[in-house]
Every structure is written in C-alpha cells, then in structure tokens.
C-alpha cells in the first residue's frame, strides 16, 4: 500500500494526511488530491471510510454520570473530611419543616385564603373585631392587663380557678336573691288574705252577660262609614240647633 500511487499521491502520504483531513485542516488543493486518491485506491478508500465510521461511533458516545457517592468516597479515603458542599447541597434539597407543613396544609388553606380575601369577609371580620373590642372595653378588659405571666401554666391555672370562683359566687348570689324574693312574696300573701285578687274581678267581668258594652269599646275601627246603622233612634229626638256662619267679604 505505501508504494502505490493514485492521482499523484502515494498511499503513505494519504495516511499522513488522514488526520488533517478528518480534522478539516487540509488546504483545498490537498483536499482535492486526497479525495481523488481515496476514490481511486481500493485500499485507502475503504480505510478512510472505516476510520470515519469509527470516529463517528466514538463521538456518539455520551459522557456517563459518576455515581452520586463517588466524591464522598474519595474524600473519605483521602483527606478523611466529609464534603461540606455535598452536605450543603443535601440540606438544600431537603425541604425544611416549615416548607413541609406548608405543602401539607396548602390543599386546605388555599380555598380558605381565597375566601378570606373577599371584601365581604373582610367587612364581617372588621365588624366582629369592632364588636369584640367594644365588648371588651365595656367589660373593662384592657389588652395591657394581659401579661406574659398570665399565659404561663400557673397563670392559666390561676385564671381558671378565679373565673370558676366568680361564676360560682355569682350563681350563689342570684339564688339568694330569688330565695329572698320568693319568701317576701309568701309573706305578703300570708299577711293580706281578705283582699280580692284582681284576677277575681276579671273573672266576674267575663261572666257578665248583660250585653252592655264596655265603656272603652265605643269605637269600632272595623266599621265602614257607609255601613247602615241598625240601632234605632231614641224616642225623644234631641233638639239640634244649626248655626251657620256666613262670611261676608
């Protein structure tokens, strides 16, 4: 092969130019001679095709990804120091507790939040806050009175017992008042047995069938003006005097 000559180029020269040809570094004149030799030589032509194909196959290979723990293993076996960068990357990839809670609560909070953002809800909330603040101010509760100690375990316990004592005391007071009131009423009943009760008079009135109207029931607003008056006139008609007053201009 090295001794053969085609198109003015020996096979040895062809082989020397092969790399420059593959790297696209040949001048146009050399390239023409190179290609002409490849077409004419039945040894160099197939060789060029094979080398080009092999290069193509090799270039098609993709770079492989090293195993994830490779760097960690290397550092452990050399400097013996854990990779801070890997630890940081791992911690960065791992979601924080807050993010996990947010992720868990998002399906519930999103519709609630969309409702809360409506003006109607904001107005309602404002009114509720206003009412609460008014009620608290009327009740004499001041936010400045609430100390941090009140929120401690002992403070909460003390508040609970104090409130319970107040409620019990209030209830006992009310019961005492009612008891005294009922005793007083019983005492009154015992001291005035002769007086007829108003209820008895009422009862007597209901039993009256004389047909005489009640003094206060003279006006009947349900009657129409055109309705004929069925009642008869009295025997002696009252003297009616009509006085007309003329107005002279």
């Amino acid at each position: 092969m090295p001794g053969e000559t085609h198109n003015g180029m020996q096979c040895k020269e062809f082989e020397e130019l092969l790399f420059d040809a593959l790297d696209q570094n040949l001048t146009q004149a050399k390239k023409d001679r190179f290609e002409a030799h490849a077409r004419a030589c039945n040894k160099c032509g197939p060789m060029l095709a094979e080398v080009e194909a092999g290069q193509h196959w090799l270039k098609s290979l993709q770079e492989v990804e090293p195993p994830a723990n490779l760097v960690k293993n290397i550092l452990a076996s050399t400097s013996g120091i854990e990779s801070r960068r890997l630890d940081l990357a791992a911690s960065a990839e791992e979601p924080s507790l807050l993010e996990r809670i947010r992720e868990w609560a998002d399906p519930f909070l999103t519709p609630v939040w969309s409702t809360v953002r409506q003006p109607r809800f904001a107005m309602s909330f404002g009114m509720a806050f206003f009412s609460l603040s008014v009620a608290l101010s009327v009740a004499g509760v001041k936010p400045s009175d609430i100390k941090q100690a009140d929120l401690s375990r002992n403070g909460l316990r003390r508040t609970y017992y104090t409130t319970t004592a107040r409620v019990v005391k209030y209830y006992e007071n009310i019961r005492l008042v009612y008891e005294i009131e009922s005793r007083v009423q019983e005492f009154k009943k015992a001291t005035t047995p002769a007086e007829s009760a108003p209820k008895e008079r009422e009862k007597n009135r209901k039993n009256d069938t004389s047909g005489q109207p009640e003094p206060r029931q003279e006006r009947n607003y349900s009657r129409d003006e055109n309705q004929p008056v069925l009642a008869s006139l009295p025997d002696r008609t009252p003297a009616v005097s009509v006085t007309t007053t003329r107005r002279f201009v």
Binding site: F19, G54, V71, R84
Partner: protein, 199 residues
C-alpha cells in the same frame, strides 16, 4: 478549558494542607477520570474503584507535581492511564486485536471477537435507539487492544490533542496517530459486522 492559574493555586493550597482546595480538585476532575476509567475498564464498579485509586495516588503524590513540567490535566491523565494499565495487567484481560479474526489468545474464548459480540446481538430496532447503540459501541470498545483503546478514548472521548496524548502514553505522535487510526477502523469493522447480521 483548564484554567492554569486557578489549578496551580489549588494544588499549592492543597499541598499546604488546605482540605477545601483538595475537595475542589476532586470536584473538578472526578467526572473526567471516572469517564476514562469507565470507557477503559468497561464496568461502573471497576471505574469507581479505579477512580478512587487515582485520587488516592494523586493525594499522596501531589507534592511531586511540577508546574513547569506540564499541565495538571496531562499529569492527572498520565496517572490514570498508568493505573488502568496496571489494572489491566492484574486482571489478565490483555489481548491483541489487530485483526478481529485473528486467532484468540489464551485468555479469550474460542470464538472470534466479532462472534463474541454477536452473541449479544441487539434487537432489530436497536439502530434507532441511541442508548442501545451506545451500549454496543461501548461493548465493541472493550474488544479493542488496550493500546488502541486508550488512544481512541483520549482522542475521541476526551478531546486531547496528539501532543498531549503522546506525552501521556510516552510514545511519538506518529505512533499515537497510527493507533488512533487503527482503533477507529477496528471499531468500525466490529460494529459493521454486528449491524450487518442484525439487518
């Protein structure tokens, strides 16, 4: 492209005992070294072990690196290549594949190389699937002799120039070019035979 100033600074700091600088070096070069080892050794496990060995050796001999004598990348690649050759000799997988139909050596099976690859023939649609194609090329690469394999790996997979490859392999540039040529042609013949039979 390698930033010479930064790398030299990292090496100096590392020799002075800076663990952060060493970690930076590992981060910079582990991918490249792993890929060379994987393409040469063939399996991920071997590549991982070999990469680790390279870095252990590098860690111990880093103080011997001379900035004036050459690029750090060439130094690292030479170290990797030497370990790969040692590994190859230890595992007795060395074979000569100047011809795929050559008589098999004492370490090989009775079949020619092309037949060994054909046993694991790909399905008919493999040509259009890049992953399977990559596997076939990787498998064929393992059938090349270590001299041809390392030459094409450094040239076509690591994009090193002929002068750097010659420095790593400690052979003349002409020999490097010849090995690359033969390696590419050999690989093409292996793969052409596979696909001709699949078709």
């Amino acid at each position: 492209m390698e930033d010479v100033q930064i790398v030299n600074s990292l090496v100096r700091r590392c020799v002075a005992g800076d663990a952060v600088a060493w970690e930076e070096i590992v981060q910079r070069y582990n991918r490249r070294i792993y890929n060379i080892c994987y393409r040469f050794a063939g399996t991920s496990d071997d590549a991982q072990d070999l990469t680790q060995e390279v870095f252990i050796k590098m860690y111990r001999t880093l103080s011997s690196y001379d900035v004036e004598r050459g690029a750090f990348m060439t130094w690292v690649t030479t170290m990797t290549r030497n370990l790969l050759v040692d590994h190859f000799r230890k595992t007795k997988q060395d074979r000569v594949t100047d011809s795929i139909d050559a008589a098999p050596s004492e370490h090989e099976d009775a079949m020619p190389l092309s037949d060994q690859i054909e046993d694991k023939a790909l399905p008919p649609d493999a040509r259009v699937q890049s992953r399977e194609t990559g596997e076939a090329v990787h498998e064929a690469l393992q059938k090349l002799s270590p001299e041809l394999r390392e030459a094409v790996i450094l040239r076509d997979l690591q994009d090193m120039d002929y002068r750097e490859i010659a420095a790593v392999l400690k052979v003349p540039e002409g020999t490097v070019k010849s090995r690359i040529n033969r390696g590419r042609a050999e690989l093409a013949r292996l793969l052409q035979r596979i696909y001709r039979q699949v078709m």
